[in-house]
Symmetry: C2
Subunit: 688 residues, 2 copies
Amino acid sequence: MVAALRSHFNGKTKISGNFGSLSGIAAVFSACLLSALPAYAVEIASPDGRIVVDVDTRNGIPGYSITFNDKPVLNFSRLGLQFQKAPDFVEGFDIASVETKTTDLVWTQPWGEEKDIRDHHKEARIVFQSQTGPARQMTVTFRVFDDGVGFRYDIPAQAGVDAIKITDELTEFTFHDNLKAWWIPAYKDNRYEYQYAASSIDSLDVIHTPATFEGDKIAISIHEAALTDYASMTLRRPMMHGQTLKADLVPWADGIKVYANASFKTPWRTIQIADTAYELANSRMILNLNEPNALGDVSWVKPGKYVGIWWCAHIRTCTWETGEKHGATTENTMRYMDFAAKYGFDGVLVEGWNIGWDGNWYENGDLFRFTEPTPDFDIEKIAAHGRKVGVPLIGHHETSANIVNYEKQLDAAFAFSEKHGMRAVKTGYVGSRLNDTEWHHGQYMVQHFQNVVETAARHHIAIDAHEPIKDTGLRRTYPNMMTREGARGGEYDAWSHAAQGNHPDHATILPYTRMLSGPMDYTAGIVDLRFGEQEENGVSSTVAKQLALMVVIYSPLQMAADLPENYEGHPGFQFIRDVPADWEESIALDGRIGAYFVMARKDRNSPDWYLGAVSDEQARTITVPLDFLDNATTYRAEIYADGEGAHWLDNPQPLAVKTKTVTAEDSLNLELAQGGGQAIRFTPLAAR
Amino acid sequence: MVAALRSHFNGKTKISGNFGSLSGIAAVFSACLLSALPAYAVEIASPDGRIVVDVDTRNGIPGYSITFNDKPVLNFSRLGLQFQKAPDFVEGFDIASVETKTTDLVWTQPWGEEKDIRDHHKEARIVFQSQTGPARQMTVTFRVFDDGVGFRYDIPAQAGVDAIKITDELTEFTFHDNLKAWWIPAYKDNRYEYQYAASSIDSLDVIHTPATFEGDKIAISIHEAALTDYASMTLRRPMMHGQTLKADLVPWADGIKVYANASFKTPWRTIQIADTAYELANSRMILNLNEPNALGDVSWVKPGKYVGIWWCAHIRTCTWETGEKHGATTENTMRYMDFAAKYGFDGVLVEGWNIGWDGNWYENGDLFRFTEPTPDFDIEKIAAHGRKVGVPLIGHHETSANIVNYEKQLDAAFAFSEKHGMRAVKTGYVGSRLNDTEWHHGQYMVQHFQNVVETAARHHIAIDAHEPIKDTGLRRTYPNMMTREGARGGEYDAWSHAAQGNHPDHATILPYTRMLSGPMDYTAGIVDLRFGEQEENGVSSTVAKQLALMVVIYSPLQMAADLPENYEGHPGFQFIRDVPADWEESIALDGRIGAYFVMARKDRNSPDWYLGAVSDEQARTITVPLDFLDNATTYRAEIYADGEGAHWLDNPQPLAVKTKTVTAEDSLNLELAQGGGQAIRFTPLAAR
């Protein structure tokens, strides 16, 4: 294998064996044709040996390639950076040195989709040294896990260079095969809120990450981890033909991609690899590539479920703005708090509670005041009632993408939230540009986000960000960065006829794409699926699918989005009450992108398991072995299935609730309707 | 239904019943709020009543809407045109008069996928008259068939306006539902040669037609018919939100969309509608909207199968350019002619036969000479040999998109072809712009194409155009315009590893998209699926799928693309010899876009039926009732199926040939491998 790969590589030949003490990492001393200095080619294998990364130079251009199960995945793909007024890292390089290490440890998430996370990888820190042109040094660190590869540029200060302006990152992902990509377009006004498209790599233009690529016996997701002070990476196909995607950093309005210090690290570029697409959902690599908790004691960060004065505004039975139908009144909020207390929800979100919504807020975001309630919202009374019934408010900061206005008030805003007992704030950035100028995906937004997260942390507030920067796993480092939108959520189903909202396959694509980046505040759990006046609006889903989404789409702050009056007395409400928002373990069991997905999760605070399955517009029967259950236990399965004749468009309401006794040796045949789903709670009955 | 539609329409109310003598066409006299003149709203139903078109004005803006099975398909969608230096057709209009008629006739194709075509439609010719602004008249003719709607602008000369420069066509297609679209991008350098993407309408940017839209119990294809002297129409989604696609005419380099006379007709804008996507493939509406045969006796146009010196160039065992490996030599051509004669093929295509290929022809298209063979290609000897064995040459004119150079030689080129016994010429337009300037899809290419077709007809030559303008059914009017490329064809499988070529789902999307426009010279029939040197290249298909494509992908000039030496002795070759290229009848039997497709066709010259089925990367079993067979006959089915273990990537060669006796009452279970297919010939054994 190594020899075969070598033969592509610029005439270099492997003349020594393993280098260093780690098996699986071979630094190869080779005869260099371009320079009198010795040069290395480096090979790093994953702990299980299935993923192999080769790092080398070709004609002085740094690059890497990847194989999986001895088959090429990425062909030689360049690495490099370009700067304004500083020598570029493009060519003339050779590998000067390599440091290697192996890590195998388990760390614990304070909350999450899985409690204990194993971080097992091999690392090679590779120093590329210029052989021609000005003296330059570019360090790239690769980490190879059983579930993928991460690498980051780690640039030391260069002689004579102070602050750096990055004008381009040359990182490539040159696919060996013309895989089928699942993607949303980048550089669009609607941010990440597009339904996913599927097409071959060689038909792509420019797309956001995470993007997922399917082939024969392989699935790949490309994304990034630990985006804290850099532009976000999109992927652009630069050639007329070909299967190369190139990093395309979202620029500032002035064209510069990133403003950096003389010494800087980029986020990790991540390439998750699995045999099948649904197994990508079991990868924790993105989290592993983030830094450990930087906040210390975060017992004040509390996962949970919430309800809110929100859906009514989307279906137009209440308004954000003040007036007759204003949703955010003292009385209405206390009613929601009572409902939440009665049924065990952990918070009440109220949108439209503050000054700024009246008039055209979309254009006049500088009117928003984050410490000034509307006259009909008595914050003192509400906060007192919340304390009494044990249900805090969830704050809301819609900025309408006016960052200047928000940042001026930021500390006061979170102090206000803290003072009134809030544990979490939902932020919002509706608008096609920040301050009418900057993309939501550039370094400016990344920096602002970091500012918000850190400010919120000082006030012991968690963040649920809408219209956010994409998730890159920062919740590990900042556990108060809990959840976010960053995709088309349930709101798109509120605005129109069911045939006009999210397509039924949307929820069968998200788990393989957007959800690989982290939690999403999707706002599912709608049980009254038809509403509205003139033309009947509705959700493109059955009730069972709405319940299933509360398992399928992970969020540590999970909204049960429907109205209290629709929940009370509904046969599906019991599942919404039962399903937790914090998990011991999560296992994607089966699926096919754009067709179906099955997820099982174990409650973090009980021995119960939960299962969610969702289908696209096809009806289907999925056989699921229950071998994830404890082998020594008999369980009662409470099954929330599509009822007779259920159909996402014609007949969304039928729900069949039944119970069954099962063990780990059984299989269940899940029958999903067209656009349907199934949700199951497994509760231990007895030891077997 | 009508009343319900009225209520959406600008306060107009229906105050009279049917207008004119035709049931199903109701011209509605209504109280107009904007003008003192009376105004009409027009409703036209398809012969079976399932499709209903309403034409009206809203605030003076002309528009139309469509329902299918009483459900809205297109909401009010505007009609209009804008001009340079002439009053626009945008607003201030009302319907002034309506002429209606019904047509029901059968016409016969000289060759085709179906011999006798029924044209059954209702027509309304609607005159919009300006009520405000300068006096203007815009006429739009609608034809409503059971399988869809066509409409065209038919603009009379306007007072004071001479030649017209169209700067925009405002035609909209405002979908009621957010359907799933299957599309290729427009305005790309690689012309139509992209793999199809699937995504929701509200995620689209700008796409080519035909584009296909799938919903619940409905499938729609939008395209155009009779594009003879206009720009081709692409579809652009103009809004951030929403499901409106707007006509986007491909401009000339100077920005003008169309240069027209004072009086002009646009091509027909077509909206084919069916209950399921595969039924779209049974629509002949595009042909029906073209003008009848304008060439008179076309007995010189002969459908058939051909082989050629072509695949060898793509897999690099021969070259287009002269030299040691030159494919187009006298000897090699005569060898192909002998092979063709022995096995019943109707022509031999030879590429690289003429002056111009040596050097960088891609950049130097002005070197191409279309009457000058290379020294090693003795055209006199070859033509004589062809006459002797009864197999004509198929000519080849690669222009490298240099239209100026080609048009200078055009008449001489076709005279040369005619003189040497050729009946067909394959043209080629490789390059991202015509003359480095114009899009392949603009009026310039349309005019050039028309020139080529008419010039060829004068010399009794048929055209097989590669890198063409898209098909809009002109073969009805000009039956020598036989077939074309206009999509990613089999050649993409020649250039690379099987995992890098056409994705296995490509052939399961084409029948629902590209093929709705007309025949395609796909160049299937490859039986040796792995080849090449360093890295093994190959076709992303099984052998059975390659055979099936010769039924699935209709072309009246059907290439059996593999090398003679690969065919001789191959068990699949008998099917390639047997399968005709001219059909009595064609019936799409089953399918799902991007998953599978099943087509049955009856030979035009025998009682035999043929069936082709293709699958994407999934293996599947399809049960096909044989009720298309003659009920009074017993047939022998010669079945070419995927052999044991066949797989498009890992194991493409296994082919299982078997025979079975069947009748119209039987069903067959077609077992298709991953990326596989099945081809069947049904031959009458006896009367039952």
